[in-house]
Each structure stands twice: as C-alpha cells, then as structure tokens.
C-alpha cells in the first residue's frame, strides 16, 4: 500500500490574525502543518503498520506545495514516521485550490499511489475543495469528511464513515481513491487495515508526536525538492483573491451578576425570551 498525503503549512491558528490595508499580514507568524493534514498522516501511518507502533508495510509519502522553508514541516512529518517527502516550490499568491489540485494530480500520475489521503480543509483558506477537484481531475472516486476507514484485506476497497449534516454515512469505495479526513479520524479505532491489524487493534486517541528516535531517523530520509514546471503543469489560477478585511467586531457585552439579572436582560432588553 502506497499512500500519498498532501500537506499544507498554515499559520498558527492560535495567534491573533493581523488584517490591515486589505491584506493579511503573516510576517510575524509561526507555521505549522494544517491539523487535518497531520490527522491524515496519522491515518496513513495506521493503515501501513502492523498495529500500534508495529512494522511499516508499504509507503507513506508526504507532499507539500510551498516556499522553501516548508521543509521544516515536512521534516516533522518524516519524524512522525512518513517514509519520504516531496516539496514542490510554490508561492501561496500564485496558487488557488484548482492549481494545487492540478499540481498534485501530475504528481499522482508520476507516483501512482493506491490512495491519496488528505485533510478535508486547510484551516487558513478554509476552501474545502482540493481533494474533490483532485479526484475529479484524476477520474477517481472520492470519499470526503471521513471519520473512519476500514481497508479491506485485499487492499482494493475500503468501508468508510463520513460525518454528514444528518449523522454518520457509511460508504464503500474502490481504490485508487482520494479520501479527505475529518477530526474524528484519529479516534482509537477509527482507522484499520484488515491485512495488517486485528479488529482489537487500538491506537492513541490523537495523532502521534515525533519521537527522538523518529527525529534521528528523519535525518536520513529523502526530502526531494522539485518545481511545478518540472512536473509539466501549465496554466494559472481560476480564483483571484481581491482583498481581505477584518470581520466587524462584536460590541462589548456585559457581565451579569445573577440568573435573575440574566433573565431580566434577555426578556426586557434583548427581547429574546
């Protein structure tokens, strides 16, 4: 089983976002792997190991399109356990979801993975598009917003559950496919490869951290840097960002001292009860 995991670096979501003069100022931010992509890497590692921490069978390749220093995030993913990494030089301003998907598409054709596993959404752009566009451009099936993956022993299909508005939807999907993951994919029993792990297998309730051993091992792993041009991707963006603006601030509220006061305010002032 070879799994390709596209990963985006995103600005730390816990830092206050600076929005001024029509743009977002990311100069002082710190960068990290998009949380959903980290979850996708964890899921890919589980699908290729003989139970928690077991021997790796198959290959997990992480890929990012970004500036040169995205190598720091890729190294972290190698330290988590991914086998190798590819960094495709790219500048956010020259990308949109379609272009990201087209670049990834050419890489998929070259790498021939059995599965592309990725986050459902990048927590900066919040587009929730790349996986679906990628699947369309490859003519592959797609399984989005996954809460669980059970890979069949023959590696040819998977039974998945998806988090949908009305509850949980179960689907069967043939490989190769594009799958995008939701938060719950890192649950203890959310992901399993029938060929490698018994039904009783369990993992931590979260993504793994890079161990010291992992960090040492990562130093010897391949991190290849290439350009989109070398993959033969032509064309430009389909969606242009015009400007950013800070959302209107909510007017400051008040602290109430008691339930009585709260009920009085809701009834007489806000008139909502």
């Amino acid at each position: 089983m070879k799994i390709l995991v596209p990963c985006k670096r995103v600005p730390n979501p816990d830092l206050k976002l600076k929005v001024a003069n029509g743009s977002v100022d990311l100069a002082g931010t710190t960068w990290q792997v998009n949380p959903f992509d980290e979850y996708a890497v964890e899921a890919a590692l589980r699908l290729t190991e003989k139970g928690k921490g077991g021997e790796r069978v198959g290959e997990v390749v992480v890929v990012s399109i970004g500036p040169k220093d995205t190598s720091a995030q890729l190294k972290q993913l190698l330290a988590m356990g991914a086998n190798r990494a590819i960094l495709i030089a790219g500048d956010d301003g020259a990308l949109d979801a379609d272009r990201v998907a087209r670049i990834l598409g050419t890489l998929v054709v070259a790498e021939k993975p059995d599965l592309v596993l990725m986050g459902k959404q990048a927590v900066d752009g919040d587009d929730n598009q790349v996986g679906q566009i990628l699947a369309a451009s490859l003519g592959w099936p797609q399984a989005t917003f996954l809460a669980s993956i059970l890979l069949a022993a023959d590696g040819k299909s998977a039974t998945v559950t998806r988090e949908v508005d009305a509850g949980v939807e179960e689907r069967r999907v043939h490989l190769p496919a594009v799958m995008t993951v939701d938060l719950r994919i890192v649950g203890k029993k959310a992901v399993r490869n029938e060929a490698l792990a018994p039904a009783t297998a369990e993992w931590e309730d979260t993504q793994r951290l890079a161990s010291l051993k992992g960090i040492m091992a990562a130093k010897k792993k391949e991190l290849r840097e290439i350009t989109a041009e070398s993959l033969g991707v032509a064309g430009g963006i389909l969606v242009k960002t015009l400007r950013h603006e800070a959302p209107p601030a909510r007017k400051a509220g008040v602290k109430v001292a008691s339930v009585e006061e709260l009920v009085a305010k809701l009834h007489n002032e806000a008139k909502v009860i």
Binding site: L17, D98, V123, D165, R171, V239, V263, I273
Partner: protein, 324 residues
C-alpha cells in the same frame, strides 16, 4: 462565453424541497439580478417527481434528473449531472447551500469543468465576485472567479430562506447521460434522531462543552433547549468525549449557526468554536472561569458554574413565559 442563467442545486426528499436549500435560492436570486437571466433549479435523485413540483414553486424552471441509479447523493454520479445541467441551459453560475452534500459535490463539479469556485460565500458582490470568511472567520476575503462559469457554495446562515416565487416555474426532465459511480456505493445513513429543529435553522441554540463533564449532564441543557424550542449544540471537546453525537458540533469544522439566541455553557470559546457561532444575534455565556475567551464575544456573561445557574435559569424562564 456562457449565458445568463443561474443554476441552483436543490436538495430534496422524494416529496419535498429541503429547507437547507432555501438560502441557496436567495443567493441565486441575487446573482440572477446581476446575471440578468432566470433562476433554474436542478433536482437529482430517484422517484423525485413530487419534489421537483415542490421545488418549482421557488424558481423559473426546474431541471429534474430522476433515475434509480442517482438515489444516493454520490459526487461521482451527481457532479456529471450538474455539468450536463450547466451545459443544457448555458449557465453562468452554479450555486448550492454549503451542506455536507454541497461541500462534497460542488468542488468536484468545478473540477470536472475547470471552473473556479468560491466556498461558503456570505455575500454576492458582483457576477463573479464574492465575499467569504477565511482563517476560521478571522478575515473576510473578497474573491473573483476568473472562469466563464462560476461555482459557489452558500453559507446558509448569511442568506435568508427564500419564499416561493409569485408564480411557479416549469419542470423539465434532464437526461442523466452515462452514470458511473466508479465503484463507490452508499451503504447506510446512521441518522441521529432528534425531534428538535435543525441546528442551522433553529432560532435558539443551546450548546454545551467540556465543562458539562459527561453525557448525563446534557439532560439539563436539553431541558433548557426544549423550553426555548431550540436546537442542541456542542463544542468539539464535548463531541470527542462522546457526550453528544458529532453532528451537534458547532464551529469552523462543524456546523455554522446564527440563531437569535445562543447559549454557550461550559465552553471556553476557542477560535474554532467562535467561527461557528459568532454571527448569532445574542450570545449568552455561562462559564466558571472569568478569563474564558467566550466572554469576549458574549452579550451577556454569567461567571458561575452551570450546576448552580442552569436549573434556576430554567425555572425563571418558565415563570417569565407563564406571565406571557
């Protein structure tokens, strides 16, 4: 070049238009004002003739793609139908509400067509320009789609539910063309049963967080919810801990709500949670920690435990209601 029609994907049961699609119709009408053409709905499914008639009350025309192999909303089979619909009416735009189906199917449709897409728009600025939240709602971003056909999903809370049009539109059959699910198969929907209104449409939402500690304690929030005729919501922490089903999660990656009245009980107010409820009209926070960030967005903050405040709150609201 493309024409002037605005196409809107309308989700249905076999007999009815789903209310989740009403905001998309409002957005489509706005776009139609700038595009100058008609609003055309497209309904897809199996045995949906009655639903197509229901949907026609809202739009100039409905394209109905009714086929047994289209019963489940699979992006693999539905996206090509949407492409066929766009071509048939030479549409300038395709929109849908940002439901789980809309978010799954529209990007695939855009991908098949090489069309640019704007996700979860909150305003129509022009025929190809839209405003949308980014960075968990910490920025509003204006984007321009550069392709002849425009694709967009619509944030349901930011467009009013559409009312029926003055006169009903016509229904026309749309042949599906070849249907290939690429091996994907719908197995089952494990629906969470609830007699309460939909989270995204409720006028009151009562949400609980990790501070509730366990599932049993949500009972008291449910009582408050039902007293106010609202919907129950939760933070990620409460969902992850199994206190409530995951589809109650409110936030950047859960449901986006904007009710008249939102209660955040035992919720700290992480940005990912705020992203899903910041547009609520009135926000009430009950939290024992005076420093909790939720108080920064709350109109009324009560710094106390839920144990000591929610039961008397229920009692006093009952009294107020009884007094009319």
């Amino acid at each position: 070049m493309s024409g002037t029609a605005t196409l809107v994907l309308l989700e249905t049961t076999t007999s009815n238009l789903r209310s989740a699609s009403l905001p998309a119709i409002s957005a489509a009408r706005k776009l139609a004002q700038v595009n100058g053409g008609p609003v055309v709905g497209v309904v897809i499914g199996s045995g949906i003739a009655a639903a197509a008639q229901d949907a026609a009350r809202y739009v100039d025309k409905v394209l109905c793609c009714d086929n047994a192999a289209l019963a489940a909303a699979l992006a693999e089979t539905w996206a090509p139908v949407l492409v066929a619909a766009i071509k048939k009416i030479d549409a300038a735009a395709l929109v849908a509400s940002a439901t789980s189906a809309g978010k799954d199917i529209l990007p695939r449709t855009a991908g098949l067509m090489g069309a640019g897409m704007a996700s979860e728009i909150v305003a129509v600025i022009g025929a190809k320009a839209f405003r949308r939240p980014t960075y968990a709602g910490n920025a509003l971003t204006d984007v321009e789609v550069l392709t002849p056909v425009v694709v967009a999903t619509v944030r349901q809370t930011e467009f009013p539910p559409a009312a029926p049009a003055a006169s009903a539109g016509t229904v026309e059959a749309l042949p599906p063309g070849p249907i290939d699910a690429l091996g994907s198969e719908f197995v089952a929907l494990h629906a969470s049963k609830s007699a309460r209104p939909d989270l995204t449409e409720a006028k009151v939402v009562v949400s609980g967080g990790r501070g509730l500690k366990d599932a049993q304690n949500f009972k008291v929030l449910e009582e408050l919810t039902d007293l106010l005729g609202g919907a129950l919501g939760a933070s990620r922490a409460a969902c992850d801990a199994g206190m409530v089903p995951n589809d109650l999660q409110v936030g950047q990656t859960g449901k986006v709500v904007a009710p008249e009245l939102y209660f955040a009980v035992g919720i700290s107010g992480a940005i990912q949670h705020l992203a899903g409820m910041k547009s609520s009209k009135v926000i009430v926070a009950i939290n024992k920690d005076p420093e909790a960030p939720i108080f920064q967005v709350a109109d009324y903050g009560l710094c106390a435990t839920w144990e000591s405040t929610v039961p008397p709150l229920i009692a006093q609201i009952k009294t107020v209601k009884a007094a009319g």
